[in-house]
Amino acid sequence: MMKRQHSWPLAVVILGFFLGATQVQSRPYFNDQAVPNKLEDVTAIELALKSHLERTREATVCITNGAGFGSGVIVSKDGLVMTAAHVTAGVNKKFTVIMEDGTEHEARSLGLDSSTDAALLQIIDVENLPFVEVEDNPESEITTKLGDWVYSIGHSGGFDKSRGSVVRLGRIVRLNNDASTFQSDCTLIGGDSGGPLFNMEGILVGIHSRVGKVVDQNMHVASYDFFKKDSAGLKKWDQMLDSEFMGNSRFAKRPRQGSGFMGIAVEETSEGLRVTDLDEAALAAKEGVEIGDLLLSINGDKYNKRAELASFMKKKAEGEKVTLKLVRAEETLEFTFRLEKR
């Protein structure tokens, strides 16, 4: 009788433990220890880090615009780079990406989220780059947990060929409620911003965002945040690929209203606004707008007066998307492009 009473709760607990164990199957065991108990645990952490270091370091890059330095990590073989919004600080800006071996590539910034400090950058016309895969996990599968062992890589203080990028060991020391950002005690400094944080399975879990006031508290934007959906169901990743400037927060300043440039001149006619001149170097001309085209609508709205168009442009900033509907020889044409800088 006694025996029976005893074995029931044990069976339940063992079952619970078993389920727990299968759920966290790929998690290294040391992540679930409060601290390493034996030197073998320390060695296990060291071995895990070393087994992923070379591959992950190759994908880590220095990003510079000549004036400042940041870091980033290549996530596709054709050169898509994840970095921080305060590193690119804007959309469609020119950068140089420096690989670990010193090779330089041209790059342009894509979209960003200035509220979480996430950004994408595209290396131009280079194939077969070293890269790490990034996982598009739904929130229910966020695996990063408090206390997980992690390592950071970055070009601390800028590119230094003889030094190479710098690796640092640490743990996740704070998780924020929405899982978009977290902190680690990997020591960071200026120049590391935008660089990658990996867990001990070699999976990219975050991007360095801010250096903390104290040395053992530094902020990262979670990889998960890059794939979050907004209230309209749009994925942040897709919007960044489409060069969208999201959020209006401290990490990147929005271009001011009125800074957008379309590059067309119009006259008022009885039928509406007609294109009379084009800036050949501007996007409207390159996209195929021609002199004589009749402007039917912009972003779905009809404009009949030049003053109305001027006040529309006063509200538009560089990088904003416009869709022009035009009539040419009784044919309706549609052009969509992003405004350039005036």
Binding site: G20, V24, L39, I45, E46, K50, L146, R163, T187
Partner: protein, 358 residues
Amino acid sequence: MKNLLITFGLMAGICPLSLAQGSLDSELRLNGKKTLEVFSAQKETIQNSSAVIYRGYKRVAYGVVMSKNGYILTKASELEDQPATTSEKAKRPAVKEVLPLSIRIGEDKVYKDIKVVKIDVTWDLALLKVDAEDLSPVDFIDSSELSQGTIVISNGATSRSERRVKVGVISANPREIQGPAPVVIGVMLDEKKAGLFIQSTTKDGAADEAGLLAGDQILRADMKTISNRDELIEVLMSKQPGDELKVVYVRKGEEVKCSLKLMARPTASRSRRMSRNDFMSGRFSRRRDSFPRVMQVDIPIDDKSCGGPLINLSGECLGLMIARANRAETFVIPAKELQKVYAGILSQEAQTDGNKSE
């Protein structure tokens, strides 16, 4: 036993979930108290084979115990009499006393009679000697092939009797850290198309003492032809204070030979201009450049915690913690180079002693 199993099962299954949000206790972080408990064997090595160096009551550096009979290597520039901060000046306005050095090793060994055997400005090393017989010197191991990510241990905080440790990893490629030459000749230079000229001389500097004047053109240094600043600096890089530099200069169309006695670059004269990264780096070393070769680790120490040994998990010594460069970077002189400097000084000393006794 069954109860133990139950507890373990619960912890493994539930603990990570309950920790899903919030903050990790500071004791559990990489350099937290509880994390460091696993390094008890390494702590023992640090306890016995590192020295704590005080000036007056203040700790200024750690040191590496090199021999049973009391040779200790440490960071030289931290032994210099430090300029008082403004607040200290206010407290002690007129008194300018150089406090004596003292050293603690292990739990209770205290040494007050310290001989500064030699200062090597190239590496910023000082060899000290205390009168001892049975110290535990470090065991060196060649660290040149160690891969990045290797876990390493150094001195952390200390009480009078107990050393503590800090942990980190080897974090970048070993390399030279460039910087100004460790010696100076005491001139402002003017680089012209026609060659390298002296713009002005520092009073009582090496050049001034040798009779050099503003307007003189430096033609050769130690037989090497000099046409610009970099060529002169290259000659100076391998020099120690007190070394001679043979200079040929041109004055009023005539070549003149002279010999300069080189002086050490004062640590205080090193650039104090703070970069943005320096401002977030806390207390870093005043001398953190001009090292022929260093390894790099991520152990977060401060300027007064340099000079001690870096050891691996087996307790073997990989080098000497020579500089806190900034918040993310700490420099270490590799074991091989350290042993070479040490052997060099000892053989020099033996020669000098031999000459004395003749």
